[in-house]
C-alpha cells in the first residue's frame, strides 16, 4: 500500500486537533494543572491521583475515547494520525486522564479479532481501560509478565500500570496453559488490589496491581500476536504526547527568555540560550515528523510500521530529555522552583522517556530490523 503524501492527515483530523487545543486552552490552562496536582510538595509524598473528572467526562462525551475503536465495535474508527493529533494536544496540556491508557487498550483489543469486540464495545460506551502487562523488572518485552492464569483465575502482580486509578477496566496479560493470554477484568473485581506507586510525575499516576484468584474474561489466547501488532501504535501515541509536551516546554521557555532581562538584554539575545532552544525545536520537529509518519505507516504501509514506530519513540525520548533539561536551565533560578510550571512537564517527560522503552531500547530493536543479527 502506498504512503499518503500528507500522512493521511485530512481535514477531519485537522479539525479534531484544533478543537482539542481550544477545549484544553479554554478549560485547562497550566495554572489550573498546577493548582490541581502540585498541592503536596514533599519529596516523600504519596501520589494522590488528582484529576478533573468533569472535564474528562466532557471528553468522553465528545467521543475522544472511542476515536480509535473500529466502527464495527461502535467506535469512530478515525485514522491513527488523527488520534496522534489529539494526543499531541493532550500532551501539550499535560492533561491528567486515562485517554492514552484507554487508547493503548483499544489498540490491543482491536488486534484480537472478534474476541476483542465485547471489550471494545465497553470502551465505545465510555469505559476507560489500561494495560496491565508489565512485570516487576519493568521489562518492555511483551512476553514478560508476572501474572499467571490457572483455572480461569488470575494470580500474581502487574507493574508500572498507567493511570490505574482512573479506569474501570484492566486488560491483563498472563501466562496460561494455552500460552500468553489476555484477560479483561473490572478494576474493582474481587481479588484486584491497586497499589499506587509514589511517582515523580505529578500529572499521571501509576500503580502495581496484585491479583489474587481473580475471575477474568478471556480475550485472546494469542497475546503475543496482539501485543506485537499493537505496540507500534502504543509507542507512536506516547511519542505524540511527548512531542506536544516538548512543544509546550519550547514555547514557554521562548516566552520566558524573551522577557527576562540579564546583562541589559533579554536572555534570548544570547546565543548560549538561543542556540540550545533552536536545537530543541529541531529535535521536536524531527520527532513530530516521525510520529505522523509512523502513525500513517501503521495503517497505510504495515511493513514499515514497526521500524517507523521504533524511530518515533526513540526520537521522542531523546527530544523529551533534551527539551526538559533546557526548559529548566533556561528558566534559571525560577525554573528550579516548585511554583514555576516547568517542573510539571519536566517530570512528565522523564516518565514518558522511559515508558514503553527508552531511546536505546528502541534503537536496539530498530538495529535488529535494519541490520539484523550479525555473527
Amino acid at each position: 500500500m502506498a504512503q499518503s503524501d500528507n500522512f493521511g492527515f485530512g481535514e477531519e483530523a485537522a479539525l479534531l486537533k484544533e478543537s482539542a487545543r481550544k477545549f484544553l486552552d479554554d478549560n485547562f490552562p497550566t495554572d489550573r494543572l498546577h493548582a490541581l496536582v502540585a498541592g503536596d510538595h514533599t519529596p516523600e509524598r504519596m501520589s494522590d491521583c488528582a484529576w478533573e473528572q468533569g472535564l474528562w467526562q466532557q471528553m468522553v462525551d465528545l467521543g475522544w475515547t472511542m476515536l480509535a475503536v473500529p466502527e464495527d465495535a461502535g467506535g469512530v474508527g478515525m485514522p491513527l494520525v488523527a488520534v496522534a493529533g489529539l494526543v499531541e494536544e493532550l500532551g501539550r496540556a499535560a492533561f491528567p486522564c486515562p485517554l492514552m491508557a484507554t487508547l493503548n487498550s483499544t489498540y490491543v483489543l482491536a488486534a484480537c479479532g472478534d474476541t476483542g469486540l465485547p471489550a471494545l464495545e465497553e470502551i465505545a460506551a465510555g469505559s476507560a481501560a489500561t494495560l496491565a502487562i508489565t512485570n516487576r523488572d519493568g521489562s518492555w518485552n511483551v512476553a514478560d509478565t508476572d501474572v499467571h492464569c490457572r483455572d480461569g483465575k488470575l494470580s500474581g502482580s502487574a507493574w508500572y500500570v498507567q493511570d490505574a486509578r482512573k479506569v474501570s477496566c484492566l486488560l491483563v496479560s498472563a501466562h496460561s496453559p494455552a500460552g500468553l493470554s489476555l484477560y479483561w477484568v473490572a478494576a474493582d473485581a474481587p481479588g484486584v488490589t491497586i497499589l499506587p506507586d509514589a511517582i515523580v510525575d505529578l500529572t499521571r499516576d501509576q500503580a502495581h496491581i496484585s491479583f489474587e484468584q481473580v475471575e477474568a474474561t478471556p480475550v485472546s489466547d494469542n497475546a503475543l500476536a496482539a501485543l506485537h501488532q499493537a505496540m507500534p501504535a502504543i509507542w507512536t501515541t506516547l511519542a505524540a504526547d511527548m512531542v506536544g509536551a516538548a512543544e509546550w516546554q519550547l514555547q514557554t521557555t521562548v516566552e520566558y527568555v524573551s522577557t527576562r532581562q540579564q546583562f541589559d538584554h533579554p536572555l534570548g539575545f544570547f546565543q548560549a540560550v538561543k542556540h540550545p532552544l533552536v536545537d530543541v525545536m529541531i529535535q521536536i520537529d524531527q520527532s513530530k515528523s516521525l510520529v505522523y509518519s509512523a502513525a500513517c505507516a501503521i495503517e497505510e504501509e504495515p511493513a514499515r510500521a514497526l521500524q517507523d514506530a521504533h524511530m518515533a519513540k526513540a526520537s521522542a525520548s531523546d527530544t523529551a530529555a533534551y527539551a526538559s533539561g533546557r526548559s529548566v536551565q533556561c528558566h534559571g533560578g525560577i525554573g528550579f522552583t516548585w511554583e514555576c510550571f516547568a517542573h510539571l512537564y519536566f517530570k512528565r517527560q522523564k516518565h514518558s522517556q522511559m515508558l514503553w522503552g527508552d531511546a536505546a531500547w528502541h534503537r536496539s530493536r530498530l538495529a535488529q530490523l535494519l541490520i539484523g543479527e550479525v555473527a
Binding site: 524531527q286 534503537r363 550479525v374
Partner: protein, 411 residues
C-alpha cells in the same frame, strides 16, 4: 500504481508516465570517468562533458524547468518538476551539473530579471549549455554576507566592477555568475545591488579565476577577481540598492524553501561514485572488522548508526510534513532547518563511519586497501564545507532562533 502516483493530479500522472517511459529508454551509459560526489566537486572537463550531455538530453525531453513559462524555455506545467525529480531519482540518473544555475540563479533571474534577460539566459541555463556560478562570499564577508565590498561604479550605461570573491564553485567552468556587490558605500544593506555577469567572456579582460584547494586536496572552489570589469546596466536584477532582497530569493531557494522546485540530482550510484548516507554506513559496518567481528555486530556502533538512520528519516519526513499546513506551527519552521540538519547529519554520519573503519580510517583515496575507496575520510572533511558554506551552522541557528522562534536578534 506507484507510491507517489496515488496523489497525482491527472496532469501530473500523465507527466509521470511520460517521464518514466522516457527515462527507461534514455538512461545514460555508465560514465567513462570517476564522477565526483556532487556537482560542486567537478574537477575535469571529462566529468563535465558527460554530465552536460546528460542535462541537455533531460532538458530536451522536458524534464527540466518544467514549471517555468514557455517564453523563458520552461515547460509551462504546474507543480511538475517534483514529479520529474522523483522519477529521475527513481531511475538513478546522474546528477545535473548546472546545480547553481538551476537551484539559485534561475529563480532569482526569473523573479527579479527583465523579461528580455530571462528569455535570453534561462533556456541555456536549463539545458546546461551555460554553467552558472555564484559570487557572494568575500574574504571579509563570510557569515556576515551583507558586508560585501566588491564595488560597482557607474560609468554612463555601464558599471565598472572591482573586487574579490571567494568560494565560487564551478567558476572555472561557468559562463555566468550571479553577483552580489555594493553600489553605495554609505549603507550596509541598502547599498547592495545584484547583477548577472558573463564571466567566461571576460576572462583575462577584467576577470581572473584562480582555483582554491580544499582541505581534502580537491579543487572545485575558486577565487574570482574583478579588475575594472565593465558590464551593462541591463545585467542588473531588480532596482539599485535592492541587492539584499534579491539575494534573499537566492538563499531561500538554496535552502530548498522557494516555491519553484529545483531540478534534483538523480540517484545514480555506481562503483565509481559513493553516496555517504546511513544506508552505506550499514554496508560499511558489515564489511569492517572490530575486535574480530563485523563492526555491524558491535552494540555501540549499532546504536549510533541507528541514531543517524533516525535523524535522516526525520529529515525526510520533515519534507513530507512541510506540505501539511495543519501540522506546521510556523510556515518556515521546517524548511529553514533543512540546510543545518542535512549538513550536520552528513558530518556526524561520516565521523561515525571513520569510527566504524577504525585503523583503516587512516587510509585515503590513493590506497588500494582503503574501505569504500577512501571516500569516508573525504566525505567527513567535505562535510565541514557544508557546515561552513552558505551560512555556517552558527548563522543558521541565529536565523532559526530569530525568524522562527522570534527571539531577539543577537546583533
Amino acid at each position: 500504481m506507484s507510491d507517489q502516483a496515488r496523489k497525482d493530479t491527472p496532469q501530473q500522472a500523465e507527466f509521470r508516465d511520460y517521464c518514466r517511459d522516457w527515462l527507461q529508454q534514455n538512461r545514460p551509459a555508465e560514465p567513462p570517468v570517476r564522477l565526483p560526489l556532487s556537482p560542486l566537486e567537478i574537477m575535469t572537463n571529462e566529468q563535465l562533458d558527460y554530465l552536460q550531455t546528460w542535462q541537455k538530453s533531460a532538458y530536451d525531453a522536458g524534464l527540466i524547468g518544467c514549471d517555468y513559462p514557455q517564453a523563458v524555455g520552461g515547460g509551462d506545467r504546474k507543480d511538475c518538476q517534483r514529479i520529474a525529480n522523483e522519477e529521475m531519482i527513481r531511475a538513478r540518473t546522474p546528477f545535473l551539473p548546472n546545480v547553481i544555475g538551476l537551484g539559485m540563479a534561475a529563480p532569482t533571474v526569473f523573479y527579479h530579471g527583465q523579461q528580455a534577460l530571462k528569455e535570453r539566459l534561462l533556456p541555456r541555463l536549463f539545458s546546461g549549455e551555460d554553467i552558472w556560478c555564484q559570487g557572494f562570499s568575500e574574504p571579509g564577508a563570510g557569515s556576515d554576507l551583507a558586508n560585501v565590498q566588491t564595488f560597482a561604479e557607474r560609468s554612463g550605461d555601464k558599471w565598472v566592477i572591482n573586487g574579490h570573491k571567494v568560494w565560487t564553485s564551478l567558476a572555472h567552468f561557468a559562463e555566468w555568475m550571479i553577483l552580489l556587490l555594493r553600489t553605495d558605500k554609505s549603507h550596509k544593506y541598502d547599498g547592495l545591488s545584484y547583477f548577472v555577469v558573463p564571466i567566461r567572456a571576460a576572462l583575462g579582460k577584467g576577470v581572473t579565476v584562480r582555483p582554491l584547494i580544499k582541505m581534502t586536496g580537491e579543487t572545485g572552489f575558486n577565487e574570482v577577481i574583478f579588475d575594472n570589469l565593465e558590464v551593462d546596466d541591463s545585467y542588473r536584477l531588480d532596482e539599485l540598492g535592492k541587492g539584499w532582497q534579491v539575494a534573499m530569493t537566492t538563499l531561500l531557494h538554496e535552502r530548498g524553501a522557494g516555491e519553484l522546485q529545483t531540478p534534483r540530482a538523480g540517484g545514480m550510484k555506481s562503483k565509481s561514485t559513493h553516496a555517504t548516507n546511513s544506508a552505506n554506513l550499514i554496508e560499511l559496518a558489515r564489511e569492517c572488522v572490530r575486535d574480530g567481528k563485523p563492526a555491524a555486530a558491535d552494540p555501540l556502533l549499532r546504536d549510533r548508526i541507528m541514531q543517524q538512520v533516525i535523524r535522516e528519516a526525520g529529515l525526510a519526513q520533515n519534507q513530507r510534513r512541510a506540505r501539511v499546513p495543519a501540522l506546521l506551527d510556523h510556515p518556515m519552521r521546517v524548511q529553514l532547518q533543512n540546510k543545518l540538519l542535512a549538513s550536520e547529519i552528513a558530518q556526524d554520519t561520516a565521523a561515525l563511519a571513520l569510527e566504524v573503519e577504525g585503523a583503516s580510517a587512516s587510509l585515503y583515496m590513493g590506497d588500494e586497501h582503503a574501505p569504500a575507496g577512501g571516500q569516508w575520510p573525504l566525505a567527513y572533511m567535505n562535510s565541514y564545507g557544508m557546515t561552513i558554506a552558505a551560512g555556517t551552522s552558527e548563522v543558521q541557528r541565529n536565523i532559526l532562533g530569530e525568524r522562527v522562534l522570534g527571539l531577539p536578534k543577537s546583533k
